[in-house]
């Protein structure tokens, strides 16, 4: 892999217009990645999902060079109907379109940040990989007091042109005081056997509101890793919703730093898996100051030898008195071979806190099925009704009604 990385890196660098200093930094990141390799099960955070092994088994040899010189045609058929929205379109990792047609142009700034390297507070090797190979990196700045009229949808599209490739993406967002942004990440892949490595960084200033919905719904054979870092100032709110379903393997990491008082973070997720899929959500909520709040709810329905992993951590600093942290994960195993692993973790250094977590996993309740069947439903109908109700609980947590309906339609959940 080492020669491949080196060769692809040299090729990539040629196409980037970078200063010598930036090249040096990228080289350093590359070396660090070569040194560490893909994360494996020996690392505690990857205990349940050995990425190194998964890539080996599903992709084999990866290549890292991405020809980004030619443009791709934007396929408008993938765009969401019935909801007016702003768009950013990524095709095969290349930004093809940025369109804020519904917004005041002077309130949103798009800054080309290609030359700065982000320091993420996570130590895994994938951030090194991302740093080494990302070319264009944009920062989207929502100015003070501006609240986007329409949601922003980021389309992540890959097509059959690419194969066994590693795609690295990076976006930065800054929400200034009193601003708000609704953001939907929509994954739409027709390609197979690629490894997507996505890093987002959000900076929320006072009173800012971020709602991020990640929808990975369409069947595909890709391997996906996504890392969200969210820094929150006073009174800010972040809401993250993850629908984890389509990809062959996916791991979503949310790292949330509640730096300001009265900041709150919500993480809700659904795993709906079948067909040997293996998905993971890992969330780390750092309560760093007093009177902060976090709430997490993760539900899974697992069929056909699929595997879901939830690792959630609530960290409470010794200054973070009056913290309120809650975390619940529930799983229904429909099939004998399906598997649910959880590691709900609390690390608490302050005494005046209220933190709790719960985790439950098991089969569908036979009594409930019997109840429904005795009222005339078929076995299949009863099963579907119960699963529907089980997942609806999470979707109902979405605070934006427009998007809630959109997601309900997408995954076919009825009220």
């Amino acid at each position: 892999m080492k020669e491949q990385l080196q060769k692809d890196f040299d090729n990539s660098i040629k196409n980037f217009s970078l200063s010598q200093k930036d090249i040096e930094i990228k080289k350093f990141c590359l070396e660090s990645f070569i040194d560490k390799g893909f994360p494996n099960r020996k690392e505690e955070d990857w205990k349940f999902s050995d990425l190194n092994q998964i890539i080996k088994n599903n992709i084999g040899e990866l290549s890292f060079y991405n020809d980004q010189t030619s443009t791709n045609k934007v396929d408008t058929s993938v765009f969401v109907d019935g909801l007016e929205h702003n768009k950013i379109v990524f095709i095969n990792g290349r930004i093809e379109k940025i369109d804020f047609e519904y917004e005041k142009k002077d309130q949103i700034e798009i800054i080309d940040q290609s030359e700065t390297i982000n320091e993420f507070k996570n130590s895994n090797s994938l951030s090194d990989l991302n740093n080494a190979f990302t070319n264009k990196c944009f920062k989207i700045l929502v100015k003070k007091g501006y609240q986007l009229v329409k949601p922003l949808i980021i389309y992540h599209t890959t097509n059959t042109k690419i194969w066994s490739k590693n795609i690295n993406l990076r976006l930065n967002f800054e929400l200034d005081k009193n601003s708000s942004l609704r953001l939907i990440d929509l994954f739409n892949d027709t390609s197979e056997k690629n490894f997507l490595n996505i890093f987002y960084n959000f900076e929320l200033k006072e009173n800012a509101v971020l709602k991020n919905y990640k929808v990975d719904k369409f069947e595909n054979k890709n391997i996906k890793y996504s890392f969200n870092n969210i820094d929150q100032d006073k009174n800010s709110i972040s809401e993250t919703f993850i629908l984890s379903s389509g990809s062959n393997f996916s791991k979503n990491e949310i790292n949330c730093n509640l730096n300001g008082v009265y900041a709150s973070a919500f993480v809700n997720g659904i795993f709906s898996l079948n067909n040997h899929k293996h998905h993971e959500i890992r969330s780390i909520i750092n309560h760093l100051t007093e009177n902060t709040k976090s709430y997490q709810l993760i539900k899974s329905v697992l069929d056909q030898s699929s595997k879901a992993v939830y690792q959630g951590k609530i960290f409470v600093n010794s200054d973070a008195q009056k913290t309120d942290g809650y975390q619940l994960s529930k799983a229904i195993l429909l099939n004998k071979e399906s598997e649910f692993n959880a590691k709900p973790e609390l690390e608490i250094y302050a005494d005046d806190v209220k933190c709790s977590h719960g985790s439950a996993s098991g089969s569908l309740n036979e009594d409930s099925i019997f109840y429904l069947m005795s009222r005339g439903l078929s076995y299949q109908q009863s099963r579907e009704l119960l699963i529907n109700g089980f997942l609806l609980d999470v979707v109902e947590k979405i605070t934006d009604s427009e998007i809630k309906n959109l997601i309900k339609n997408m995954i076919g959940i009825k009220e």
């Binding site: 505690e44 010794s318 008195q321 799983a331 195993l333 429909l334 099939n335 004998k336 071979e337 399906s338 598997e339 649910f340 692993n341 959880a342 590691k343 709900p344 973790e345 609390l346 690390e347 608490i348 250094y349 302050a350 005494d351 005046d352 806190v353 209220k354 933190c355 709790s356 977590h357 719960g358 985790s359 439950a360 996993s361 098991g362 089969s363």
Partner: protein, 480 residues
Amino acid sequence: MDKRQKEINDLKDYKYGFSTDIENIQAPKGLNEDVIKFISNIKKEPAWMLEFRLKAFERFKVLKEPDWQKPKFPKIDYQDLYYYSAPKSMKDKPKSLDELDPKLLETYKKLGIPLQEQARLNGIAVDAVFDSVSVATTFKDELTKQGIIFCPISEAIQNHPELVKKYLGSVIPTSDHFFATLNSAVFTDGSFVYIPEGVRCPMELSTYFRINASNTGQFERTLIIADKGSYVSYLEGCTAPMRDENQLHAANVELIALDDAEIKYSTVQNWYPGDKDGKGGIYNFVTKRGLCKGKNSKISWTQVETGSAITWKYPSCILKGDNSVGEFYSIAITNNYQKADTGTKMIHLGKNTKSKIISKGISAGSSDMTYRGLVDISSKAKNSNNYTQCDSLLMGNKCGAHTVPYIKNKNSESNIAHEATTSKISEEQLHYCQQRGLNPEEAVGLIVNGFCKEVLQQLPMEFAVEAQKLVGISLEGSVG
């Protein structure tokens, strides 16, 4: 000053902190094959036992000290320890208690462990372990009548080699982790219990561990076998003198329950926890594992952990037999600079297996407490159930309480439920108690006892009273 206050004062400065001035035989300092041979030789062990030890030692050489645990500690120099220390008077084993060194008797009297005949009233059979040797076992005759074997393990190796050979290392193999392997190589003494088929042990069996000599590691090994349809309740207590340096205690405990058998294992661990500034104290790195080998067997662990500078242990159950049951009840209390990383593992292999975990952690002062547990339901363990509850209580903002459960479910017909909470004693509760005339300390004591009640109920009567007192005393000075 009322009685309680007096008890508190007695215990505030760790009343078991005295040391006994007694002449010792020690193995040469350090860890090597010769030392292992020395231990084996002095215990007059058969060749297969020495082989067992040396095999473990070979394995130990390639293992590395684990470092994933939460409480970090300075590197232990394994060559700077004595691996065997015994009172000289024990060289030729006394035939009865009357021949026992009076100094030893005095020591155990001071500790409140009655070795002499008056013990009969208490109805508990005791095996007392002093540093590396078992000094006395009471009620032997009575137990023998029923066919129960309760003796030091070194005696069992000689008198019941077929049992020891069959079961020793069957639950904790010599190739296990670092400390377990070290123990397999150098273990000195401990208890051996065998309950024959269909016998219900008429009294509580108990071992009392005492580390006396300085610079010694204590490596005890306990093996309990409950044959078909039998029942035994076993208690374990521990103390050590106050010393400035840290001492290592790395024990292995193996339990084996055959068809329909039940083993109840209770521990009140009160090793010297170090002084107020975190100096000294015992490193309690213990491997405890029970195997529910037969159908309908049951193993239940109950522990009250108040002592030790660092506690690092996970009493586990391997539920291999169908319909077997595993239970774990724990109270862990840390104060001052104590650290604990404790919990359990429930490994479900058989059908219809059930497990229950109740863990209560209380941390005060500048201490740190971690619950770490594993519930693993394998794909063959149909219709299995687990229920876990771990609650933590924090007192003061310098301490930490952490929960790290690992939950693995590979069977769609099995259910796992896990709950955890962390909080402090609510102002309302305190106010309510104080309003009814309790002072703040008493109020906290009452609330904490209520918090721990679920676990304390599981202890045998005599222990429960002691444990309840210990709970109150361990937290002295942490309120207000």
